[in-house]
């Protein structure tokens, strides 16, 4: 209990440090003093525009997106009882991206894009769930294969939509597809969705602990498995959709983050859910910081940075699961 609180406090501190750090570092060098001055309402107009107008909203957007993906990953991993489940790997992000692109191409607004992204994400989740549900438990190979095929299918749809899109928007759409926070730094809605989802999911965390040990056992211990499962689908799909509309398809956050939290503090979802939200936010804030500084003045898509961390870790997890069997 004490250890969990300590861990959450440490994660919150890391999140605060990452957010603060992202305000001080950027492609334009500002002295720490001039950054601090902007908070008091002082500082040069350039510094204020950079720190309060660009860096702060972008950092908060990165944090919210990372938190959404971390929480979505944690929820999907309970639902599928598989530590390799992740919105990106299972094609849920792909479905959301195709949905969002379709709305953008049709000239509809961001709100409509969120709706169609949600529809795409939900469709993916349902396909993966229905097709990968082997007898009894979730066979990892079957799950991953279904996810890969689903993701490939959405990839083709996305390619088609990109070919049809006008040249003027192609570059920004491509970057958005790779996962990039440069185009929309709307942080209020994603952060609100993250907070609401966490507040809704936390009371069910103990039920999720039971559900993680199998459908049959969870039902035998009084967990309403069906309604809870449907709630998890909808929640995981919605969180993914909001994250994708915010920043495109950023991979592996939902995979790495819950795993790290479990490794550090165990699998109690009363810890894993808030921990995954905090750690996901921190990871993406740091990744975005790296993305916009390593080859400054040019910026990498943040998805490239998370993939650079996520791919080796995913392969390691896969290797280890083989050894256990």
């Amino acid at each position: 209990m004490r250890r969990r609180i300590l861990l959450l406090a440490a994660l919150a501190a890391a999140a605060a440090a990452a957010l603060a750090g992202s305000l001080f570092v950027g492609s334009v060098g500002l002295t720490p003093a001039s950054v601090l001055a902007t908070f008091g309402g002082h500082g040069t107009p350039v510094a204020r525009a950079l720190v309060l107008g660009l860096r702060l909203p972008r950092s908060l957007a990165a944090f919210a997106t990372g938190g959404l993906l971390g929480l979505a990953g944690a929820l999907m991993q309970v639902l599928l009882r598989n530590p390799l489940a992740d919105p990106y790997v299972l094609g849920v992000s792909g479905g959301a991206a195709a949905g969002a692109l379709l709305a953008l191409l049709a000239g509809l607004g961001t709100a409509a894009a969120t709706g169609t992204a949600f529809a795409g994400a939900l469709a993916s989740t349902i396909v993966v769930f229905v097709l990968a549900h082997g007898r009894g438990s979730w066979a990892p190979t079957r799950l991953l294969l279904t996810g890969i095929v689903t993701a490939a299918g959405w990839g083709a749809v996305v390619s088609l939509l990109l070919t049809l899109s006008p040249d003027t928007t192609l570059r920004s759409m491509l970057f958005w597809m790779m996962g990039d926070l440069a185009y929309r730094a709307a942080w209020r809605m994603p952060l609100a969705v993250l907070a609401a989802a966490l507040a809704l999911a936390l009371p069910f965390a103990r039920s999720l602990n039971v559900l993680a040990r199998g459908d049959l056992r969870a039902r035998a211990l009084g967990v309403p498995v069906r309604p809870l499962g449907i709630g998890l689908y909808v929640a995981a799909s919605l969180l993914t959709a909001v994250a994708v509309v915010e920043a495109g398809t950023i991979g592996f956050v939902g995979l790495i983050v819950p795993h790290m939290v479990r490794l550090a503090g165990g699998s109690d979802h009363r810890l894993v859910l808030p921990g995954a939200a905090l750690a996901g936010g921190t990871l993406l804030t740091v990744a975005d910081l790296l993305a916009r500084t390593v080859i400054a003045p040019r910026a990498l898509p943040v998805g490239v940075v998370t993939a650079a961390i996520g791919v080796p870790l995913f392969l390691y997890l896969l290797l280890r699961s083989r050894e256990v069997q």
């Binding site: 103990r206 039920s207 602990n209 049959l216 009084g222 309403p224 109690d268």
Partner: protein
Amino acid sequence: MSALLACRDLGVARGDRRLVEGFDFALAPGEFVGVVGPNGVGKSSLLATLAGLLPPGAGTIELGGSDLRRLSRRDIARQLGFLPQDTEDPYPATVLETALIGRHPHIGFWRWESAADAAKAMAALRRVGLADMAGRQVATLSGGERRRLAIATLLTQAPRVHLLDEPLEALDLGYQARLLRLFRRLARVTGAGVLMSLHDLSLAARYADRLVLLDGHGGAETGTAAGVLDPARLGRVYGCRIRRIDVPGETPLFRAD
């Protein structure tokens, strides 16, 4: 005294196969009943149906006098515990955390596990010989230790009715006898009901008050071990010759030839 768990005219089917038909049964307080029969005759399906986890093909089930269909899963879980044949623990957890899962139906929605809940889980771990391993990761346990942990989780749940699907699987001889004694004592002392499927007819004859023998074609023979475990009947049901070896002053042993 009224039955803890009762079924009337119960039918259990798997696909086209009618495994159990017209089954009438009542589990009395303090009673330990064994379910025996060859592989695939429906022992697991019968237990899962009685636990409300599979819909019955026909008939009614009553738990503590109430129709099972009218009870919520949580209400059922407070009175009835079910040990499935396989248990999975895909995520890292300690032995104590896993046993504590059994308290879930007893703890209010907004509450955390209390010290009293942890004490119950520790007591259950002691009874299955896992108290020393309370802090260990489940992934480091052997197959038999995991089985004992699943049993400890059921004991932590502390239901009135225990339905166990092959709890002795993967257990060594010592623990087989130890756990059978534990459940027999649990029934006698606390008035709980125990219904357990098992394969070893000799152990079934020795520990169970009554036996249910399923033949897989709808038939179910219920009665004392001496009445049910008739070598001629066993031969028909199991499709091989089964000998009863009488041991003076003890329950008989059964051996397939």
